[in-house]
Structure formats: C-alpha cells, structure tokens
C-alpha cells in the first residue's frame, strides 16, 4: 500500500495486534503471542462498502475493533479523514464516536435488557448532547425508529418483547443516532433467520444510500458479502490474502484460499452442485498462537511449493488494476 489517498475516509496501514500469552500466576513466563492481526492495510472511501470475509480466527472482528480504537493496535496506523487516530486517548476517542459506529452480531446481547427502546436509541443523543429539550429528543428518536422500519409507538417497550430481526433494527437505529459517516457492521445478519436476513440487508443498503455511509461489512457468508459490498478483502490468520472489486473476486479468484472458500460454499442449485468440486483443502486452521512460517496458508494449500514455506508473500497488484493477491505462485 502506498500513498495517502485523500479521498479515503478510513485508511489502515500495517495494522498489527498481538495478544501476549502468559503462563503462571506469580512468576509469569511469556509463552508467545496470539497474532490476531499481522499487518493489515486497506482504504475505505466515502459511501463505499468494503467487505471483510474469512473464517473464525482470521481477525476480521479484531480489525473492526481496532479501527474504532476499542482496542489499541500493537503497531500500525489508522487514519480517519486524514487524521491519525491510532492509540488516541479516552476523551478524544469519545468525540470520534460521533463519526464512527458499530452494529453487532448478537441481537440479544447487544441491547441492555433493562432499558426501553427509547432509552437505548436515545442514549447516544444524550451522551453527545445532540438534541435540546425533551420534545426534540423524542422526535428524533421517533424519526430514527421510523427510518429503520419500526413503529415509534413501540418505543416504550423492552428488548425482550421484540424478535431478533427487530432488535437488530433497534441496534441500527442506535448507531444512526449520532449521524456517523462510517459504520462497522460486525456480522449483522449471521444470527438471524434466512428470511429476515434479506430484510436487514435491504435496510442497510437503503440507509447507506440515503446518508452516504461507508461500511466495513464483516461476515463469513460470502454470498451476503458479495451482494452488499463494492470491494471485498479475504482474510486468513490475521492477514489479507486477496482484495478486489466484487465482480473480479468472484469471477476470477486468484488466491488458493479464496478459491477454496468459493468451492466450499454450497449453491442452491442441485444440478450445479453435482458437477462441482467441493472441498479443496484439508486440515484444520492452525492456531493463531503458533502460526506457520512463510505463507500462513501453506500447510493447507493444494499447490504449495518450497518457497511458500520459507518466505511470506506480500499483497501485489495483478494486471495493473485494483485486484491484489498475496501469493508466490500467482503470476
């Protein structure tokens, strides 16, 4: 990744997050590091959606949290609107929250069960003093609820009285309250039923268009990500192995891991499934604690060569366009 793109809302450069693991209570001995993120870089422009896919342990959730400064990175930098926000203090971070928000995966756990919907959606308004007076406060909450497709008359109810999809809408309303420019969607539909997923995805697209929001859409379901993202980054063990425009990624996947992911996902078409190859890689995902040397994917890669064991590949631009891959064997 090279120069600073001034059109970019978010820029992430060589983001690294290690969690040290110790053993022993009194005389602590460091056993090593859990390498959750190991050098991640990308840009997100205004109004754009970057999809982040990968399986469990790949570091996608940690990426989101580190951008928001909910966790401070071990090294690397995060820029927001050109300003370096890496490792900022608590007070500055609070001001940042007006611009960057997050929607969570768990529609049950992400809402305080003892607060009414009105309180939940209104809390950011109170924290950042965005409204004056009771009337304006209530009006704003009502309009937020309407925006996400909820009946404002339900504002006095408690979260447990709503279904999963509805609770997710409440979470979205809460994130919108501060009028952010960027929202991290951390697996927002994974915990929902299939028929409800589509509703929420449509809603997210609607408000993105309406408010010009940028999204970092974190998910493990490649089909969903493809639908909503402009560009997609594929992560494995804390690194980005491929990043491309959505059409390119699915039409011409280059990294063996991306290809394996696409092959593994079953398509709702029996004829097609019958003739496809399904599982192309074997073995377990290595632990983040003891990552393989060289290319981290080499232990499971079907086309592994000697060089893969020895040196770590770097994200390279292919064909001169925006499609980048980190693999020694792709020319």
């Amino acid at each position: 990744m090279n120069n600073v793109n001034t059109n970019a809302l978010i820029q992430v450069r060589e983001l690294t997050k290690f969690f040290p693991i110790y053993r022993g209570a009194i005389f602590r001995r460091k056993l090593g590091d859990l390498r959750a993120l190991d050098g991640v870089s990308f840009d997100i422009s205004r109004g754009e959606t970057l999809g982040l896919v990968g399986e469990s342990g790949c570091g996608k959730t940690t990426t989101g949290r580190t951008i928001l400064q909910l966790e401070h990175p071990t090294s690397g930098k995060v820029f927001f609107e050109g300003r370096d926000i890496t490792g900022i203090g608590k007070y500055e971070a609070r001001r940042l929250r007006k611009h960057m928000q997050i929607i969570y995966q768990d529609p049950f756990g992400s809402l305080n069960p003892r607060m009414t919907v009105r309180d939940i959606v209104g809390e950011p308004l109170l924290i950042h003093e965005l409204t004056k007076g009771r009337g304006e406060y209530r009006d704003r909450i009502d309009s937020l609820l309407k925006m996400v497709g909820l009946n404002p008359a339900m504002a006095a109810r408690y979260p447990h009285e709503f279904s999963g999809g509805e609770r997710q809408r409440i979470g979205i309303a809460r994130a919108l309250a501060v009028n952010p420019g960027f929202i991290i969607c951390d697996e927002p539909v994974s915990a929902l039923d299939v028929s409800i997923q589509a509703q929420i995805i449509n809603l997210l697209e609607e408000i993105q268009e309406k408010f010009g929001l940028a999204y970092l859409f974190i998910a493990h379901d490649l089909a969903v990500v493809r639908h909503i993202s402009n560009r997609i980054a594929v992560m494995y063990l804390g690194e980005i192995v491929e990043i491309a425009d959505r059409k390119d990624l699915y039409r011409e996947p280059m990294h063996p891991y991306t290809k394996a992911l696409l092959a593994a996902i079953p398509i709702p078409d029996p004829e097609m499934e019958y003739s496809r190859e399904h599982s192309m890689i074997k073995g377990e995902v290595p632990s983040l604690f003891d990552t393989p040397p060289g290319c981290k994917f080499h232990t499971r890669c079907p086309i592994m060569q000697k060089i893969c064991r020895e040196s770590r590949p770097v994200l390279k631009n292919m064909h001169g366009n925006e499609h980048m891959v980190a693999c020694h064997l792709v020319i």
Partner: protein, 316 residues
C-alpha cells in the same frame, strides 16, 4: 460465528429470559415460604408503626409494686424488674430493632455496592487493592470489632448502626464486584462504550441495573443477619440504653431472671427469631423469583418472538 442458537425447549411465557417486576412479583407470590415470610414481616412492621396504639400500657411506666410478676390480665406477659409492662416493651422494642436493622443494611448496601461497582468495572490494580481491603475487613471477628467501636464511641443507636455498617458492606462489595465482572463482558456494555459512554454512565446505567437482583437478595438476608448482630451487642449491654427498649436489650435483662420469669426472655427472643426467619424466607423467594433459570419458562430461543401473531412493530 455461531449463527443460530437452538435450545430444545419451547418458550411460550412471553417475556423472555428477563423478568420484569410483575412476573417476579407473581412468582414470588406462588412461593409459599416467601409468602409466609412476607406476612410475618408485615405483621412486625405493623407492630412497629402502630406501637402506641397496640401497646396496652406505657412501656416506661414503672410500677414498683408489681415487679417481676407473671402474666396477668393487666400485664399479658407480665412485668419486668421495675414493673413495666413486658408486652408493651416488646411491642415498642420492635421500633428500635427494625430501625437499626434497616438503617445499617441500607448504609452498608450503599457503600458496598459503590465499592463493588468501581472495583468490578475498573479491574486491575484498583480491583486488587479494594479486594484486599475487603478481605481485611472480613477477617476481623464481627463481634470483637463491634465491641471495640461501641466502647470507643459510647453505646446507643448511632454506634450500633455505624459498627454494623462497617462490618456488612463487605458482603455487598464482594457480590456486586463478582456480578459486575460478569456483566461487563456482555455485548451491550461494549456497545455503550462504543457509543462514547463515560465510565459513570456505564456503571450506573448499564452495570448497576443488571446486578440489582443479587443485591436485593443479599439485602434481605443481611437484614436478618444485622438484626441478630444488633441483638447480640445489645445483649452484651452495649446497645441502646434504658429506658429505650429493643429486643436485644430486653433479652439482656430477661437473662438475669431466666428462672424466675422465663417469659421475659422468650418474648423478645421469639420476636427476633420471627424477624430473622421472615427475612430469610423472603430472601429465598426473591432469589427464586429473580433467577431466570429456575422459573418454569420454556424458551424458543431461535429469534425470540414478539407478542401475539408477530408484533406490529415493523412498519413498511
């Protein structure tokens, strides 16, 4: 990554795993033991509040011609060593005892909860320091500490309340700290953090309301325990002084005349027992009512369903 939570049970009791106040109340009502405790408590409270009306005579009225007498028509429980009506003294004694119990529990709860909140939320060094202090307080034998404080400050209601408070806050602190450490890991607490909420807001708006259940249960049981403590200290002579009566106080005098007028000890002793039992029963009932898992709920936890036939919450 886990998409669907399926438990093999079905929920038809609509409020989900959380209880709101009404469901808790009704469950409590079904708990017979708690109900009994509630009845007893109400009786005692009634006694305390309406003491002047209920007591047949003035508790301080001495009648030196009728000292240490057994039960009679005029004095249903007999008289004490200076001729005062025992029944009246016991009835009035409820005021002092219950008041001291309530005050000391209240103050120790406030202090303990605050300390527990901060220790649990901040964690790290703050937590470690606070916990060691708590441990220290807990190591000291209760009665000894109380005696020391009361001797230093002089006997009376204030010293008792103060000394009990100093001892009991530790229980609240421990329990709250433990619960806070669990709750602070929940997603909605992190969500509040991500919204920009300050530490205070998180502690009082998010953590505290969600640890109320164990606090309430502890408080009811502490009430019983504190009454016992007060009685113990009064029994040793360092409680409220004559002519004010409290149950512990009366026990003390009655002790000397145990063989002559056994009723003198039995009456206040019975009152103390009833009060402590009442609080313990209520505490049991509350614990069952407020614990979401013990109630008979069966729960479809797939998506959690709204009310009848799907809510009209979603508007197109």
């Amino acid at each position: 990554m886990n998409a669907h939570r399926h438990s093999y049970t079905i929920d038809a009791s609509l409020p989900g795993p959380r209880s709101n106040a009404w469901t808790a109340f009704f469950t409590l009502m079904k708990h017979k033991v708690a109900l009994a405790g509630l009845v007893i408590l109400l009786g005692l409270l009634f006694m305390a509040v309406f003491a002047p009306v209920l007591a047949p005579s003035d508790p301080n009225e001495q009648d030196l011609y009728h000292v240490l007498e057994g039960p009679s028509l005029k004095h249903l429980l007999g008289t004490d060593d200076v001729g005062r009506d025992l029944l009246s003294r016991v009835i009035f004694g409820s005021r002092a005892t219950l008041l001291m119990g309530a005050l000391s529990t209240f103050f120790s709860a406030v202090i303990g909860v605050l300390i527990g909140l901060v220790a649990g939320y901040k964690g790290g060094i703050v937590d470690m320091v606070v916990m060691r202090i708590t441990d220290t307080f807990m190591c000291v034998p209760a009665l000894v500490l109380m005696l020391v404080i009361v001797s230093a400050l002089g006997p009376g209601m204030q010293s008792i309340v103060l000394s009990i408070t100093i001892l009991s806050w530790t229980w609240f602190a421990r329990i709250v700290r433990g619960q806070v450490m669990l709750v602070r890991e929940l997603p909605y607490v992190e969500a509040a953090n991500a919204l920009g909420a300050s530490g205070f807001r998180i502690m009082f708006k998010h953590l505290l309301p969600n640890v109320m259940a164990p606090i309430i249960v502890t408080a009811t049981i502490a009430l019983g325990g504190n009454i016992m403590l007060e009685s113990a200290v009064s029994f040793l002579g360092l409680g409220v002084q004559q002519p004010t009566s409290s149950w512990g106080n009366e026990l003390r005098i009655g002790y000397s005349y145990l063989e002559v007028v056994p009723l003198f000890s039995l009456a206040p002793g019975l009152m103390i027992t009833l009060a402590v039992l009442a609080f313990n029963f209520i505490g049991d009932g509350l614990r069952d009512a407020l614990d979401p898992r013990l109630r008979s709920s069966l729960g479809i936890r797939g998506n959690g369903y709204g009310r009848a036939g799907g809510t009209n919450a979603v508007v197109k």
